[in-house]
Symmetry: none
Subunit: 211 residues, 4 copies
DNA sequence: TATGAATGAGTGTTCATTCAT
DNA sequence: TATGAATGAACACTCATTCAT
């Protein structure tokens, strides 16, 4: 019960942090976040050892809850195409609920950029892997790296969202998802077709572009 | 000559700024930038009225030179597919030369985030439009919005690069470009096919592939 | 008690500010003031939002306490002449305790001069009005504007003090008050006489004295 | 001729300095002053070794020219009363032409306040002495120190002007002069009367209030 | 647990002054 | 003489973090 109350306060602080990072970017202050959460500045430090850790916890927490939500849906996975549709729609759903994070995700809120980016990267990758596995379950051998495929799809989606947001202030999750799928599905099909046998433009073989 | 010297120093400062913003993100200090450029702190303010403006000038300058380089190549445009290949390869080339900017591009380096993002957005969009026109010249009526198409392609590319960089420290421009094209080209063809054939709008879902 | 402690620190800072503005004029540094007050720089900003506001608070606070002291004495007001004597003596008393302010009163301590002067002017005028009313209570209808009369008297006094201070480093409040009254009292009497007699407005020029 | 041209430029700079110190107080910049004067920043330093010296030169120059103007008029001195009228009117005239200086006269434009004030004091005192002598010529033995008398009169005048200016933005030199004289003349007469023989309220005797 | 007063290192920016041309 | 690019010391102000209560 004590713990329940404790976690509740932690959650309140995270929510405030999200609102403020979304609104003011890295310039958001511990003071502001505490005020918004209705606690004293010192209290924030009882739950998070530093501003950096608060920020990272926020990102990790949101990515985590995204993962939890999505995993649920992925269990009822249909064919690969359906999985992809589901993933894109869920991402748009998530992004529309946490638009601020998209703006913030690549911003370092404190010095020491590299270190932070790395941790965010790790969190994002964990999610990506889960999704990749889901796709691979229904479409075992794909000619392109599934993870790369998903990275590209989410990159497409995020960029498009940002474009819409800058242009119109908001975006329509459903419509944007469809636009993304217009681009992603033909490729998925091409990859599958190739998988079955007819190589047309040698998609595969370039594989993982590393250094 | 007088002017040459002036622009030379401006360029030196921009270069130092790029290096430092890349290495330390928004935390990069005017002091550091000046030292790296071999000038006094006050000198930076002779060329840029504020840190914010220095940062924006940097981004705009790089986007601009990217545009100039690309426009050259686009003049010898072949069919749409070739244009797309060219664009992706050039972007990867550019990104590999300005990797730091990718990390920085969405970061606000000073308070007042919204305002800054807007200006960067404007700069990016100007470039995007030029490229969209180039594609439309060789493939006049496309079923998807050309600008959206390009936004998605660049989003794919940038995300993939970041992934590689976090994973391996660097990335191979050529290989990454090819991976991106694996995803983008089938869609372009699908769109063109549709253009030629009888479909009207929705690319996706027309003929679902077997699982 | 909590409040007592807070106000105590505020008072300490104001005292230090007064000493330093007196000694070094507008060039006094927040750093110096903080050090003199025995607090950290940041603490000053806990009590005053800016150097400008610290300076204005100082002036307003001193004028206020001057007003409070004087009001006390004015309640036991005798005839107009006595009121005037009282006022001049109290002013000299106040000035001798806050000599630094006299040097500083017309100095702007930060850019935005006009705005600051206006606020100081307002504070001074509030005091002046209180005094004008006190005089008017005992000498209802005066032929010169009472406020103008008081402005001139205080101008005389302040100038004389500054003269003494530059010349000798200090000044004798009592003696200076008497010198001021030598000039002011005849005029007050003349005004009263006129009030009683047959002149209407112009004091001067009515009966020119022999050379 | 060369010298004539030189002095002309010096004068131009002083004029610009006056305008800018009047408008922006101590915050006025050498840069601004130079621009206003139509010369390069470095040129200012050919004529004045420092900002401080520029400021002091300005004050001294203006006081000097005030002295020159007044001396002219004082040569045709009539009786003491007339001399006083003349002095007050000329001061108001001068002040109305150099209103900015009044605002600036007590402002230190650079650190090192004491040192500057002393020099300004010296300049003002030189003028005061000349005027005191003029009065003493026509009214040889006065019971109050003539210099003190003049200091007080000018203090009255300056204060009244500032009051008007803050209140209405400008002031009427003639009207203000008359208001000042309303206060000053009766005292002069009282002093003279006393001089002649009838002591009424023992004005004299307190004499110079020093430490 | 919770508070919020206190801290002080850190930074963007200004501007008087210099000096090579 | 005249210029104005370059300098760098100086300073107001911020804010993450601590700690006594």
């Amino acid at each position: 019960m004590e713990e329940g109350r404790t976690n509740e306060k932690r959650g309140t602080i995270l929510d405030s942090a999200e609102r403020l990072f979304a609104a003011r970017g890295p310039a958001a202050t511990i003071d502001e976040i505490a005020r918004e959460a209705g606690v004293a500045k010192g209290t924030v430090y009882l739950y998070f050892p530093s501003k950096e850790e608060l920020y990272l916890s926020l990102v990790e927490d949101r990515i985590d809850s995204y993962l939890v939500q999505s995993r649920q849906a992925l269990l009822e996975a249909g064919p690969a195409e359906e999985v992809l549709r589901l993933l894109v729609h869920m991402r748009m759903q998530f992004v529309s609920e946490h638009l601020g994070l998209l703006n913030t995700l690549f911003q370092s809120c404190v010095p020491g950029t590299a270190h932070i980016h790395e941790r965010i990267f790790r969190a994002k990758r964990t999610a990506q892997r889960v999704f990749a596995e889901a796709i691979e379950r229904s479409l075992p051998r794909l000619s392109v790296d599934t993870e790369h495929f998903l990275i590209m799809v989410s990159g497409m989606a995020d960029h498009l969202v940002m474009h819409q947001v800058y242009l119109h202030g908001t975006f329509d999750p459903e419509a944007t998802a469809e636009t993304v799928l217009q681009l992603a599905l033909p490729s998925l099909k091409a990859v599958v077709a190739e998988e079955i046998g007819e190589h047309e433009q040698s998609l595969a073989g370039t594989d993982a572009p590393g250094p």
